[in-house]
Symmetry: D5
Subunit: 162 residues, 10 copies
Amino acid sequence: MKRSDLTEKILDIKREKEWSWSYIAGEIGGCSDILIVSALLGHMKLTKSQAAVAGKLFGLSKTEIAMLNEVPVRGAGVPMPPTDPLIYRLYELVMINGPALKVLIEEEFGDGIMSAIDFDLELARVASPKGDRVKIGMCGKFLPFKYTAASEQHRERHLEEA
Amino acid sequence: MKRSDLTEKILDIKREKEWSWSYIAGEIGGCSDILIVSALLGHMKLTKSQAAVAGKLFGLSKTEIAMLNEVPVRGAGVPMPPTDPLIYRLYELVMINGPALKVLIEEEFGDGIMSAIDFDLELARVASPKGDRVKIGMCGKFLPFKYTAASEQHRERHLEEA
Amino acid sequence: MKRSDLTEKILDIKREKEWSWSYIAGEIGGCSDILIVSALLGHMKLTKSQAAVAGKLFGLSKTEIAMLNEVPVRGAGVPMPPTDPLIYRLYELVMINGPALKVLIEEEFGDGIMSAIDFDLELARVASPKGDRVKIGMCGKFLPFKYTAASEQHRERHLEEA
Amino acid sequence: MKRSDLTEKILDIKREKEWSWSYIAGEIGGCSDILIVSALLGHMKLTKSQAAVAGKLFGLSKTEIAMLNEVPVRGAGVPMPPTDPLIYRLYELVMINGPALKVLIEEEFGDGIMSAIDFDLELARVASPKGDRVKIGMCGKFLPFKYTAASEQHRERHLEEA
Amino acid sequence: MKRSDLTEKILDIKREKEWSWSYIAGEIGGCSDILIVSALLGHMKLTKSQAAVAGKLFGLSKTEIAMLNEVPVRGAGVPMPPTDPLIYRLYELVMINGPALKVLIEEEFGDGIMSAIDFDLELARVASPKGDRVKIGMCGKFLPFKYTAASEQHRERHLEEA
Amino acid sequence: MKRSDLTEKILDIKREKEWSWSYIAGEIGGCSDILIVSALLGHMKLTKSQAAVAGKLFGLSKTEIAMLNEVPVRGAGVPMPPTDPLIYRLYELVMINGPALKVLIEEEFGDGIMSAIDFDLELARVASPKGDRVKIGMCGKFLPFKYTAASEQHRERHLEEA
Amino acid sequence: MKRSDLTEKILDIKREKEWSWSYIAGEIGGCSDILIVSALLGHMKLTKSQAAVAGKLFGLSKTEIAMLNEVPVRGAGVPMPPTDPLIYRLYELVMINGPALKVLIEEEFGDGIMSAIDFDLELARVASPKGDRVKIGMCGKFLPFKYTAASEQHRERHLEEA
Amino acid sequence: MKRSDLTEKILDIKREKEWSWSYIAGEIGGCSDILIVSALLGHMKLTKSQAAVAGKLFGLSKTEIAMLNEVPVRGAGVPMPPTDPLIYRLYELVMINGPALKVLIEEEFGDGIMSAIDFDLELARVASPKGDRVKIGMCGKFLPFKYTAASEQHRERHLEEA
Amino acid sequence: MKRSDLTEKILDIKREKEWSWSYIAGEIGGCSDILIVSALLGHMKLTKSQAAVAGKLFGLSKTEIAMLNEVPVRGAGVPMPPTDPLIYRLYELVMINGPALKVLIEEEFGDGIMSAIDFDLELARVASPKGDRVKIGMCGKFLPFKYTAASEQHRERHLEEA
Amino acid sequence: MKRSDLTEKILDIKREKEWSWSYIAGEIGGCSDILIVSALLGHMKLTKSQAAVAGKLFGLSKTEIAMLNEVPVRGAGVPMPPTDPLIYRLYELVMINGPALKVLIEEEFGDGIMSAIDFDLELARVASPKGDRVKIGMCGKFLPFKYTAASEQHRERHLEEA
């Protein structure tokens, strides 16, 4: 069984039961909705206890429950550039604003990156008279590039014994 | 002259003058730092008055100032997937979280997208004892897909006169 | 079940029943033919009531009807560049006329885009003694790029409390 | 000299002179604005007399004028998929609506294509209280696929003399 | 059922029956062998009556016969660049001779293309003492690029009423 | 100097002198127009004597004349898939008709290919009341795949002495 | 049935029977081992009599035997660049030595290529005290590019009658 | 000036002066040789004081020294897959061993990654009678994926005020 | 049966049995854990005796055991660039550090490569108060490029007898 | 200066002096012609003494001579798939025969590869009454994949001290 087959099965049950993602995430609980949905779509894992709850909810086999608890091959099957307009807009924002974000983050924090691992993602609806807005909050730990001191690598220029 | 040549020229002057982006954006003013930096890097435009200020600051010719006031070919010269780790992490976040964001936004808002045009982008530093965090706020108007009613398109099935 | 499997099933029934797209779209109704056909081909959604009608027409299961009411991964499975000559010609028109349309729209409207979401698409036959012509009308709302004022982003340069 | 160098030169003069595309197209005249702008951007040709007028307007050399009268390598240097949002939206419309347009055109006209050569392109502004709209009209001759009769190709199965 | 499945089925029957393409095309008749074989391989359509004959010959179902009468997604599943040497040689000829053919056709005919739709394709064997030769004749209508006159597009610069 | 620089130089002189390709090919002579034009565009070579004539005609240096006599890196700089409509149509013809041509050539000739090296290419105008047609004749030697007999390769299974 | 399915079937029987390729090629006989193995892997054909022997050996159906006698779509399913190190090394050798081989072959033989069709391929083991070596011998007929004389193509500049 | 131009300049001076990388890194000092060389090749930055030393060593301008102190667009201009055999072997090792490393790291550490930012890289020569060996040591901090608790994102399901 | 099907089967049994990779590798034994896991994931082979043990452990058929003993098409099905963050980080390290490693290895060892075949790979956990670290040790034999002496290739300039 | 600029310079001098590759390789001497030509084309290095001779022959500067003695970025600038027919035929041979060579080499030698580093390449002309043949001899050391014993990697499962 492939992870994508399990995803299809879960989606079929969701359709059959007429459940919303909100309901499903509420039932499983334990972490943010985005993470739970990502796990069910095959890009994150559930904890053992979450997977057990999900297994009961969807009527999954032992093997399928174990699979939900495994780290998947993240990003598998997501076409890049994205063909879907909703996802493409995010891709476009990275392409167009990436260079400016790079130099501004580096100016403020120094050489490094915003972690995509020690990272929080929030999704919110912002009411507005001109039309509600989608708000996506990304917040990751700044990781400075490590510049190994020469003294730490003194072995580099000398021979090691095999 | 290509826009990328102008970008190189501006970057060389910035190096020569030892200016920070923060200083440059402060001098030009009129809109967010990210937009000003994006414009100087060739992915946004400056208004006429901003371009005039930038032209004075960098000692640009009339043609170069006019170019800063033009809408560039956004995204030109940005490798995708990004090779630079800072920008790649944002790309990865889209690839991995895109599918979950899609279904959650659609469940909350209906069929549509977060606009990448009527859109605000914020960058902030969040202090934390475990290491400061980079916060990127994205907020775009939700645009519902328009489902043209059949009545509006009644001409479709009939012949028009040339 | 994947959306592409449902599309294949619908196409097989259409062949078996010898229905035209025009007949099918007329039966389902409620919006433009192009949107209905796009939905049945897996690139748009039907409303709940449209999906119910389509389900009755094609003899679909509850799960399949629910799927027709879901927003699909638009563009999935469409090869780009298109291999099919009819679709390729449209692609070619974008490639060759895109740069001119860009500068003319920007000169007329300012910095922004024609929305592909708040958008109408019409197809018509134009009779002509030299051979009938295909007419495709595209009409989308002009969306101006939002240039966030510096004042709105005052938080950017200061630290937030975690 | 490459066509792209000539394009850069023309754009620099346009900036220097502060001319609009509308002014330039009006001066050159003789065909639609879109075609004239496309030619100056390197994707169409100007007629000899148009090229002469353009040459006078921009102060071009004999060789440069001759180049404007040549059919260029259309589409050269246009990134596909387009990185620029304005052009990308058109690309996206082809990707998502292409399959539905294909089957509807074939149902109405039979097997064939909308010509991208015997083709008119119009651009218009449509005023609307909710925000003006961009209207792009495409109209191309329908070309039926030619199904050569077996009798016309009788030579195929027999040897020819060298 | 996908068109490629039908193609596989037809090929299996051809193998089982030990039929040549020549025999099959002769049985179906009505147009050139190349077109009939292309249709059976999934890149052209058969007329209703041809499809009926083919259906009888191969023992196809009503749905399968209807599929043969549909315009397929031409070019689907053909790897480009071609991996097969026979097809690659044709690709190479286009790549290497394309630029010269372009300028010579344009010099002789003006700005335009050889239609790939109103087009005849012939295949012949040419006997030669040094080894027989394959002769491929391509003959398509010259289509001149249409340069819409400015007068036809007068609406372009003015507002339309919504 | 790169071959593409020489091509640009030759094209500039052609523009300056207002020569047609037909005139140039007639002056150089010695082989088909298509080959001469291909050589000047950087995809074929000229013989020493042809190169000498071309050198005189265009006023080239000794090094440039020698370059025209060299076999170039054929196909260099030709975008594939072609962006130019005239060349793309040929590419499309290969993609769509390639599979049928393959099986028909193999049925007629056996396993092998039409040579793209021992190959003639002709271009002609075919007058027609419905609009003149472009005729491209391709004729290449059939090369049968060589199936080396087992006896010829007896060394394969045994060791050779170094 | 696809050729790749037949390949999988043959490989499964080979595993089941514990046959070596050497044994299989010896049983089928009639041409070089490399060609027989290539045919069983889907990149060459077997003759009718070879296919009959192979069919008996592997217990294949009439249709499967016929498929082995067909020219396959050579190269289908082989990833390029190759992911497998053994095949990648050959790819790398072409990439790195290709330019030198090109100029040396052209200097020795003139303008042309080494045929990949009229071609012998040998594989041998060369014993060596420092470790045995793999020897691959490639030997193909030199094919000179044909430069069609102008006289043969006199029709090119004149009109043909339709 | 582009970073790649500065790299070319530094390499030319290195050739002129006949310096080894070891000498250059020793002169600049302050961190590992690999980092210094990477910076000079355009993929890392030097500190201000290192850049000053490098500037004196190579006789660079103020602008060039400032550029060495900037974070470059890492990875720019490195072809992937790598064409150079030395770098390709590393790429191949990732492709082939990546899946096993993934599951073993996840089994040992849990869900997360080895940081490529808080990361040490060592290069050493290991003497061996059968031929010396290259030893590359990679050591990065394990970063666990952060699973944001549902409580932290309570705002997600509610509206914010604009 | 394809290798990837066998991999899926083994993974399903692992889930069912709740075995760790560490347990599985310990049971099979005979070589490093990384190699055993790579083999079970389809990128390495097991020896006959290892495959026999694995076959008993997983309850595999004779054909499946034989397949584990075959050299697979290494790298098959691994997306490159990797979509999974853990594997991508290794890819990024090659892209960014590759050029520096190349020149430093060549300066130390001369022209050649680190073998990816005569190669050891180690994975270790390094405890650290700031967070444990992943250590990957790569150690491959240095292979000098062989520069064949002219005398060894004297046959090159002379004709061989066929 | 880039290596490709030096290559262009050398080629220009070769044209000016009317030297053959054979003459140049004979003058430089010291290793096989293919290696010398590859070095001059930018894919191999010359030894110091060879580079000195080449420098004298071509009148190169000290920096240029040093560059010839550097290991280049092999394969840089060689389009893959090759556009040139002569090089493409070699690529095609790898694509089509690669799978058979793989299994036959593995059956004969075990798991491993033919080295592309410890490797000899020969080029010869084979006279034949039916037309001379090009013979390319490849001979590389067989390198067996190293299967590290479990005992050598005992550290893997235990923690190291930082």
